[in-house]
Symmetry: C2
Subunit: 339 residues, 2 copies
């Protein structure tokens, strides 16, 4: 499919979904909308992100070539819809394109968009809207034939989705029949499938993860589950715990951002040292389904090569397992650890 | 207030909410509806439960004396509305009574009940419907002046609500200015206030607990938070984890049912031994807000007195803290442990 991705005023650093689609999606991104960048003249994605698929940066829907779907690739704090985006979304619908969005504000509940979608026979896909028929977990994920690998973190926003997708790619490169189980909006858009676990009813959190695994285990030998938050996060730990016990992983990969010492956005709270974080995840997993931290994935993007290698070495020593930066270097050591 | 409580076919053993209201509510329960029991002739609550407030058991709403509110005091598996209850609920509304229910099926969304409630100026209180404006936690529960005590469990359905309410009563008897923070439907009906934590969006679970604590901490020196599930439950651990980190307790009370060895309803999963469960809760709490297991609350109702005392002694030894059965004996040892 051919996609255009809206990222007004936020590309690339504030546009996690847009960048995720450019980096990992099998779809062709044929335009990124950022009217601020486009106001400076002709710009391209490759000027900002040399290692992802390239596309022109344009000001609005009128500058977008033929597409199959239009994606809202940013989410403001609070997840609302910015009315300055309305003409672009409406223009896409009028051209007959589906629209995907990961906002808390559901486009399908917007009367104007719903009417346009019906008139032009398009689908509005609100990625953050979980299925209505979720249930409590049955406790069966551990019985599946697939080997399950779940990413966990020392904190939120340390690169768990990225690590999961890099690991998936490395596993496929190594010839493994590997599938992805996304749990957040960007991963779901990349995969074209999935349940936004942070939006499920808390009683059904593990059940929603289990449902995805049961479905995917028929198809794959290895399943890589995207983790969320951290098990000692003051706000998000419920989501993390539901994913940990719902996925009943065989192996854990501990993700971290080099140098991070306090919880992102909750700076009064210290992170656990890597060894203690690994031990806590294992202790918590064990009574439901035993799992070991078999490797680490560390985001070293803000360090030079020497410091990055030192950070990986330190992290690996702390968790007594190989640690990689899967974006900067590669993830093959982790693939070896799970085989 | 004067209440009538519907418990058709389920009183007393399958009617947790009805029994909770009889035992712990400040309201007067003036009738329990169980048409099966009432078919046998005149029956009273005291025949089944000698130690709670007494009331007649009646067949339907026509046999109920003057009341202020009518309560659906049972919930079938799945939480649906049983159509055989419709005449009783409608009859209550026609008499001008409010109706409280803890079903997944919301009475306020039932057209017939909504119309009757409007016509007769009654309120339909769907206890399981969380507020719409919940948010993520700010991470401030640990800064409150009140001493926070949260009940945790080796499993679900071991008596955490009961232990919390007995502890509350014992604390008040000891002269402490103590308040209750309910997290489930029965506790919310008893308190007339609260958020059903298992029905919140998982991202907002800790935030919903925090919101209740912030509100109640202005009023009380001690707050007793009703726990849910268990931190190693294959389906419900997300709820447990959100309550643990959202409440940031100073003290934990570990609840257990004597003799329980496997997870209720998930018998393939063993419970953790008490010492390991206590250690795991403490390890998980510590990075967010340090808390110790200061006591145990053990349900020994199915044992004789000697076996009960032995079970309490064993449990206390395992957690290295006093263990009580707060219903059978009393909770004063736990009150001493938190002062």
């Amino acid at each position: 499919m051919r996609l255009a991705v809206l990222a007004h005023g936020k590309f690339p650093d504030g546009a996690k979904t847009a960048v995720g689609l450019l980096r990992y999606s099998d779809h062709d991104v044929v335009a990124v909308l950022d009217r601020d960048l486009a106001a400076d003249g002709e710009r391209r994605v490759s000027e900002f992100l040399p290692d992802v698929q390239d596309a022109p940066v344009v000001a609005g829907i009128d500058d977008v070539p033929d597409i199959d779907a239009f994606v809202v690739g940013i989410a403001p704090i609070g997840g609302g819809f910015d009315e300055t985006w309305r003409d672009d979304v409406a223009g896409a619908l009028e051209r007959g394109c589906d629209v995907w969005a990961g906002l808390h504000y559901f486009l399908s509940e917007d009367e104007g968009f719903a009417a346009l979608a019906e008139e032009h026979d398009c689908e509005l896909w609100d990625v953050r809207d979980p299925p209505e028929d979720l249930t409590v977990a049955e406790g069966v994920a551990g019985d599946l034939d697939a080997t399950v690998v779940t990413t966990v973190g020392t904190d939120c926003s340390v690169g768990k989705m990225t690590a999961t997708l890099e690991l998936l790619e490395a596993a496929r490169d190594a010839g493994l029949n590997a599938g992805f189980v996304p749990t957040g909006q960007t991963g779901i858009m990349i995969e074209g499938w999935g349940i936004p676990i942070d939006r499920t009813i808390s009683d059904f959190t593990a059940g929603a993860v289990e449902r995805m695994l049961v479905e995917r285990a028929e198809e794959y030998d290895y399943l890589f589950v995207e983790g969320q938050g951290s098990i000692v996060h003051p706000a998000y730990s419920a989501v993390t715990c539901g994913i940990l016990h719902g996925s009943m992983p065989d192996h854990l990969v501990l993700c971290h951002e080099a140098g991070r010492e306090v919880v992102h956005g909750y700076e009064a709270f210290d992170l656990l040292p890597a060894d203690e974080a690994a031990a806590l995840y294992e202790s918590l997993a064990a009574p439901v389904h035993p799992a070991s931290v078999v490797g680490g994935a560390v985001n070293t993007s803000h360090l030079d090569d020497g410091a990055a290698r030192a950070a990986l070495s330190d992290f690996g020593d702390a968790i007594d397992a190989p640690a990689v930066d899967p974006v900067r270097f590669d993830a093959s050591d982790l693939v070896e650890a799970i085989r």
